[in-house]
Symmetry: C2
Subunit: 179 residues, 2 copies
């Protein structure tokens, strides 16, 4: 009986460690997605030359995929922020099970959302850089240089958040199975 108690204490300690790690990861993911949304959402480049009728200007909202990227990042960012209190609750009560299931549920959904946003944006960024000869789509990065740097950089935060969400799901699953 005593031995079981000891084993329980050890298990509780490991689960507490997992919960602390979970909290730190969520904070990192929150910052990553927030940075991605801001970097993409503020992208706006106006070229120094213009004709009589047209000013050459590139904004993230010119491409619907980038709008989706910003929205997806903003949603995941807010979700990760809102999940922080629950993560703290898990540090205090390391045996909680139901609330961990809720987190796995939403984490999985958010993983799908952020992956979709980041991958779709990456496909378009690739096109902007390389173009496609067969479809006769020209690379626009030659003209809009700083625009392209911004949209490429904005992807990083999202992909980091993607890796973090995968880790979070696994950590929650481990914590539940150790109970």
């Amino acid at each position: 009986m005593e031995r079981e108690e000891g084993s329980r204490v050890v298990r509780g300690g490991v689960n507490k460690g997992i919960s602390v790690f979970d909290f730190v990861l969520r904070l990192m993911g929150f910052m990553g997605t927030l940075a991605g949304a801001i970097a993409m959402g503020t992208t706006d480049e106006t070229l120094p030359f213009f004709t009589q009728f047209i000013r050459f200007r590139a904004r993230y909202s010119d491409l619907p995929t980038f709008t989706f990227f910003v929205v997806a990042n903003a949603i995941v960012s807010v979700y990760l922020l809102l999940s922080l209190p629950l993560s703290i609750f898990h540090i205090v009560r390391s045996k909680a099970k139901g609330s961990r299931m809720i987190l796995i549920f939403f984490d999985t959904g958010m993983l799908g959302l952020i992956t979709a946003g980041a991958s779709a944006a990456a496909a378009i960024v690739y096109l902007a850089h390389k173009g496609n000869v067969r479809a006769n789509w020209l690379a626009i990065c030659q003209q809009f240089n700083s625009f392209c740097e911004r949209i490429s950089g904005a992807l990083i935060g999202s992909f980091v958040a993607m890796a973090i969400l995968i880790l979070l799901i696994l950590l929650s699953a481990i914590a539940i199975s150790r109970r």
Copy 2:
């Protein structure tokens, strides 16, 4: 003690039900991704008119994103097929825990892969249909009509597989927590 035994039997029954559902879902996901990979991988349209130098031909491999889509679908498809024996093992031994953790681990990775492939391809399919005025990318679907229908249809299987993988992760998590 007897009551606990009864509760265990009921739990085992529910877990068995979850495992059967898990098996059916994996089979559906396998067929969805296989169909997606085949539909995309065999896309090839040659236009009936040609100039002296050029035959107008559209293949999935003209766009690197579609190649990635086919590879991602093939990998997930093979994985889901290989995971079927483990799923059957779970129907027989509904209390298994470690092997369910392994499945959650790989399912989450595969969810990321299939979501990335499907979303990136969807972004390009959207461009092919609508084009983009600001970037001066023309819609290619006016010329390559059946090509566009194929690449749009191929996405469906992937998105179904995406939903299935999310469900599989949740089912495994529920099964582990019920143990």
